[in-house]
Every structure is written in structure tokens, then in C-alpha cells.
Symmetry: C2
Subunit: 430 residues, 2 copies
């Protein structure tokens, strides 16, 4: 890889997510050479992916060109690359575009869907961790309805209009709520020749409450909101198998559905090459100390979802969310500077600013430290916070316009099958 030689130490950051970008920004004016690698040329604002899937937002408005983030930083380089392996003994990274040496390495690779070893669900289920995946889900949802119009078999039609969402975290809850609003506001107009009252939205949660990272109050209210919208919430239920048609659970409950969305787990996207067995904690996260330093590797760091910083308050590491990732990125930026200046490092302390989820129009739940609230005010707070954290003025404007439009018109105009998902429906015809 032809990165110019420099007198500054070279820091390689793998991943342009929340952690990687916030670290890069912190390093922008320092005497370092930074190489940022990512498999995409854009940063993805993951919290809004479900709105891309449900036609409320266009993909381009929640993506931001990484090169644009870096353009004013001297000594910053970006390369579109897949990282294959770290060779710590040689301070070398092996990628699909060649090997490259680092002085310091930061893994900010984020997380990936965790199917907990279930290959069948991995093959037949839909996920929503990236923009292409979210667009595939958008296409599939719309294709199901187009397909439902073509059959006289009511059994098949019901299966095509049955949505199973596995996982009662924010992603599952937000997707279920959005689908319920589409069922109510859009489907009857778009498909007057279908009985769209028969559309079913099932949210399946293994634990005894949804949004289990939030307060009891938030969980309860979110469930009430979902039920108001017509979502069926199945608690204490685990999906065991899904062959593309039938989803079974550990109870007698099963679903015949053309769409199963797996939002039931993520795991750290750790890279090959570190002394893995010893270093990985639960959730496939890399064990780091309170300075984000990978245990046993002085010049290798991990931040964000992939970092497993086990602290007394967070025995399994911090929540795999944007906030800890951004804060860790920022903290590491400072620490790398201290390290270069031979100053003592500052341990990372997570400031939990609270959490929130939106269920639908005027329906959100917000947990702040001092104050927990639900409903329309929570919904405005949710929107404001998400707009605030979106990168880029244009993206904010476009998202804002879409939200105002969708709110006023009870609409979602991006219901477009731009790249058909082309799932095989033959099994429903048997």
C-alpha cells in the first residue's frame, strides 16, 4: 500500500463507524500520520437503518463520505480495504490491497449480526446492520405485497403478509413499530385490492421484557405502544429455526412467514491474528484495559462495539451502542497523544447519557439519568438527538424534510424496489 513515509508515527484505524470517526476527529490536529481503512467509502448512521428499510428515508441521507470527514486533516489517508489479519509481531496489517506497517493500531471494526451458530436462520433470515442489507429488506417487504396480489391461495397470501421480527432491542422494536404504521397508513391505499388488515407483525423476544437495557417503565410503555399499533409481542419466546417459510420457537408457537428479520444479537467483529482465545470475551469482543489497550499488546487498541472493556460497572463491557463508541474514540484520541508525549494515560469513564427508542408517531421512550419519560415529548427528543448526531448538514436537512413530510402526510415515499431482492417464493406454492 503506497502511503507516503512520514516522520510522524503512523496510526492505522480500522473502521469508520462512530468510534473510528470520533477518534479520527480527535487526532486531526496532532503530529501523527493516520490511515483509516474501511470496507465502505462512507460512514453509516446505523440507528436509522430501520427507516431506510421501511421507506421513510433514503439510504444516501444516513451515509456520509469518509473522505469528506478527513478532507481538512493534514496527514490523513483513507483506503477502501478489507482487513484480513493482524500480525502483531511484525506490526503489520494484511489487507486485500496489500500489507502495511503501523506504529499504533486501533481496531474500531464494530459489530456484526450474531446468529449464535444457527446457519439456517443466517441463510433464510434478513438482517439490518448495513445499508445494502437494509435496502434488501425494503425490497423484500414490498415484493411480498406485490407477490401477495398474484396468488389466490389465502394461506400463502397470509404468509407473505406475515412479518416475524426476532429481538426486542431497539432495532426490533423500532422496525416493528414502523411496519405497523405502514400497515395502518400506507398499505390500504397502496393495495386497495388486498385485505391488508390481515398483515401480521410479530415481535419475538427471548426475555421477559422488550428493551431490556432500559427502565421497566420504558419497557412497559414501549410494549403498550406496540400493542396499540397492532404489533403482537411474544415474550419469553425463542425462535429456534426458520427454513424460509416456517419459524418455530421453543414453545408450540410457530409462524408461517415469508419474512423473518433477525435482530436478536450482535457480536464484535474481531479480526484474525491476535492471540484470540485469551483475548476474546463474551460477545466476541477484544479484551482491553481501561485505556482501550488490547491486553498484552502495547501499541494495539480497540474501541467501540468490538472492545470488551470489563469494568466493575460494566462486567461484560459497555453497551454496543453509538454513545460508548464515540466516547471511547475520543478518549483514545487523547490517550494516544499522551502516549506520544510520554504523559500518563487517562482511564476511560463512560458517561451514560441515557437511552431511547421510538415506536412510532408521537410514541417514544426516553430514559435519562434523572428523568424518564414517554410519549410525544420523548418522540421529539428522540428526533432532535438523532438529527444532532447525524453527520453533515445536508443529511440533517434531508432527514428533517423527510420526517416533517412523513409526519404531516402520514407517508413514507421511499417505498421503491430499486434493486429487487428476488427471493424464491416457490416453497409457498407447494
Amino acid at each position: 500500500m503506497n502511503i507516503p513515509k512520514s516522520n510522524f508515527p503512523r496510526i492505522i484505524i480500522i473502521g469508520g463507524g462512530f468510534a473510528g470517526i470520533s477518534l479520527a476527529k480527535e487526532l486531526s490536529k496532532k503530529e501523527v500520520q493516520v490511515l483509516l481503512l474501511d470496507k465502505n467509502n462512507y460512514h453509516t448512521f446505523q440507528p436509522l437503518l430501520y427507516q431506510v428499510s421501511t421507506g421513510g428515508l433514503e439510504p444516501d441521507s444516513i451515509a456520509y463520505p469518509i473522505r469528506k470527514v478527513l478532507k481538512d486533516y493534514p496527514n490523513f489517508f483513507f483506503r477502501l480495504a478489507n482487513v484480513e489479519e493482524v500480525v502483531p509481531e511484525k506490526n503489520e496489517l494484511i489487507t486485500n490491497i496489500g500489507a502495511i506497517n503501523y506504529d499504533y493500531l486501533v481496531m474500531a471494526t464494530g459489530s456484526e449480526t450474531n446468529f449464535f451458530g444457527n446457519k439456517e436462520i443466517e441463510k433464510n433470515g434478513m438482517v439490518m446492520k448495513s445499508i445494502p442489507e437494509s435496502l434488501n429488506l425494503r425490497s423484500l417487504i414490498l415484493e411480498n405485497f406485490e407477490q401477495a396480489l398474484l396468488t389466490d391461495d389465502l394461506h400463502m397470501r397470509d404468509a407473505l403478509m406475515n412479518f416475524v421480527i426476532v429481538g426486542g432491542g431497539p432495532t426490533g422494536v423500532e422496525l416493528a413499530g414502523a411496519l405497523a404504521e405502514i400497515k395502518k397508513g400506507i398499505l390500504p391505499k397502496d393495495y386497495p385490492d388486498l385485505d391488508t388488515r390481515r398483515v401480521q407483525i410479530n415481535l419475538v423476544q427471548s426475555g421477559d421484557r422488550i428493551l431490556k437495557e432500559m427502565s421497566e417503565k420504558a419497557s412497559q410503555k414501549a410494549e403498550d405502544f406496540l400493542e396499540e399499533l397492532g404489533v403482537q409481542v411474544w415474550k419469553n419466546t425463542r425462535v429456534k429455526s426458520y427454513d424460509g417459510k416456517l419459524a418455530t420457537t421453543q414453545t408450540k408457537l410457530s409462524f408461517e412467514a415469508a419474512t423473518l428479520v433477525w435482530a436478536a444479537g450482535v457480536k464484535g467483529a474481531a479480526i484474525k491474528g491476535l492471540d484470540a482465545e485469551k483475548l476474546l470475551i463474551r460477545g466476541n469482543r477484544i479484551k482491553v484495559n481501561e485505556f482501550s489497550q488490547v491486553i498484552g499488546h502495547e501499541n494495539i487498541f480497540a474501541v467501540g462495539d468490538v472492545a470488551g472493556m470489563e469494568l466493575p460497572d460494566y462486567p461484560c463491557g459497555h453497551p454496543m451502542m453509538a454513545q460508548p463508541a464515540m466516547q471511547q474514540g475520543k478518549n483514545l484520541g487523547k490517550n494516544l497523544t499522551y502516549l506520544l508525549e510520554n504523559k500518563p494515560l487517562k482511564p476511560f469513564v463512560y458517561k451514560d447519557k441515557g437511552s431511547m427508542a421510538t415506536i412510532g408517531r408521537n410514541k417514544a421512550v426516553v430514559d435519562l439519568d434523572a428523568y424518564k419519560f414517554q410519549g410525544i415529548f420523548a418522540w421529539f427528543v428522540w428526533m432532535f438527538v438523532h438529527l444532532f448526531f447525524l453527520i453533515g448538514f445536508r443529511n440533517r436537512m434531508v432527514v428533517f424534510i423527510n420526517w416533517v413530510y412523513n409526519y404531516v402526510r402520514f407517508d413514507r415515499e421511499a417505498r421503491l424496489i430499486i434493486r429487487p431482492y428476488k427471493r424464491d417464493y416457490t416453497m409457498f406454492k407447494e
Copy 2:
């Protein structure tokens, strides 16, 4: 296909482009049953596809759900389908979702890229007639620059940064201008480690002037604008072959380029099954009379690009553009009503409202009947007209926001490789 029986006559419209949508709108309140078929579930605003390719607009803002257009019309149905054949003797249409009968059939299938039989260019060239194609081109342009960073071979790097656009019509001119602006405003910031001054944009035109459908003045000014922007315009030049690396012409001129965009011709997208030899005129358009009626078929009509209405003023049919398509759709809507009421039909008379093309920031050319002008005022007129004809308030707002942003910031933020095009670059490494 399970469309409910009705006492009204059934009109099938194939294609939700400018002609099909304008016809559907005209029929909205009539006593007819309308089935609209399209291979996409959205209408595409083709005049702005080049802005999707060049990162200025998101695809969703120039697409509009067809179901939403039809939602307030009683007795209107939409099906996502590919039409395979017309069987006029049975009044039947054969599609991938089954056969269906019509009382009246309207072909509004538009046009497709015309490679004039050159299979090699068809295989290796890029086109820009649909949203997925435009997104492929967007990805390829960006991937070329990412790839250029990875090679030390200056020869290869030049080829990766060499763009050949074949065809000096509005599409070619507008794409060339947009690329030139990217070269000037965005590439130096995004790729500080590439000598982007070496980027070449070649516009190849077979005739002796570009924009040959417009006035001499417009052609000349457009050429001046392009040259000001650094585009090389090659007139009287025909591209003969392109193997993915080398484009040859009928002269000694050749280009080594990773990207060749073929915008040199379109032809009617006629459907199999009519008495083709007799009915097709030059450009693969279906011969129709002045009522858009296909010659020899009383209940079959064609409107828009696919219709070849040979009139004294338009011996080869009307220009394959949005304006004639919309006007023909509207005229046919009225005529179908007259036909059902046994009233005399009204011949189609094209009102040429003029034509225009934009080359770049403050640079456009406009030909109106009475008045021809170029420059900044033309550019504002161009933008206003395009916003006006975009379908949907949300689309207009989003496009407007993007344009204001792009203008003020000299930027195009949708430079995102969302679905990599993944072209094979190995031939450049030999």
C-alpha cells in the same frame, strides 16, 4: 392475473414513464378499468439520472412510487410485471405473472439503449437509462479513484482517471459537465494523494456539433462551456470498439480508459407480438397514426418514445423526450374517452415548448420558440423546469435542498459506493 371483473372496459397501460403516468392521470375519473404494468414499482425521472451517477442526488428523490400516483383513482390497478408478448388476435397480453385480456392496450414502454449491434460496447460500456444503471456508474467512477490510489503504474492510473462519454446529446453533455465539476471541486479535496489534474473527460460526438437537436447557438455555447470546464470535445468522431480498456474510433484517435459511458443512442422498447416488420419504423418505434393508434390494430395504441408517429413536421416521429411523451399520454387519454363515447378523435399536435440542457454551475442553454438564451439565467430556468416536472412534493423539496447545498458548498455528498460495481481491473495490470 387476478384483476377483478368490471363492467367498464379494461385498458392496460404498459409502462409508468412520462407517457404512461400522464395517460393514467387523464383517465383517472373516467368509467374505465385501468391496469398499469411496469417492471419497476416506481416512476423514474430520467432527466436527472446523470445527477444520481455523479453523486449530486440520491436515487430515491428522482423516483416516485407508481402505486402512490394511482391511489386516489377508483378502478385502477397496478402490477409489477414484465410483459413478454402481445397476442392481438386474442386481445391478450402474456407476462411473467400470467396472461391477461384487455379491451384496449397502450404501449408506453419507452426506450432502451441502442448499441447499434455492437455487442462489445454493450458488454463493456456503462449506460444510464435506469436508476440501478446510474448507481452502477456512480460506484464505478468512485471505485476507479480508489483503485488509482493503489497503483504505482502511472499509465494504469491515467486509464483509471480517463472517462470517455460517447454521445453529444443532453445526457452526454450533462454527464461530461458534472464530471468536470467533480474534477475541479471535489477530487482535489477527496484525493489529496492523487494528481487529479490528470483526470480526463472526453466527450465524443459523431456529428459536427453537440446538442444537435438544439439551435446552433446552443450547441456552440454548450461546447464553449464544456471547454471552459476542461472537457475535451471530439466532434465528427465515432467510437468503433471498446474492450473494457481501449476505445478506438474511426480516426487514429483512441482512448485508454476504465470507463466508457454509452449515451449515443436509444431505440423504442417495442414488445414482441405485433406484426413487427411492417410496424416498426427507424429507431425501433411502433408506427402509429395521428391518434396514437397502432396501424392495423384498432384497440392498440402506443405513446411516448416507443411510438413512431410520422408527421410532415416530424418525419421520423417526435423527439424521444419527456415533453412529447407527456403530451401524447394526455391526448390519448382524451381520445380513449371519445372512442368510448363514439365521438370523433382529435389528432395529436405536438406543442414544442423548447429544449434545454445544463452543463454546470451557472451554465445552461435554453431554446424557446421565441427566445434562445444561455448562461446563468438559463441555468435557473433549467432548475425551475426540472423541479416543476418532478413528481411529488417531497422529491421536489429534497432535490431543491440538495441543489442549494451543492451550489453553496460546491459539493456533491452522495459520493457513496453503496453497491460496489466490482469491475475487473486486471486487464490494466498487464
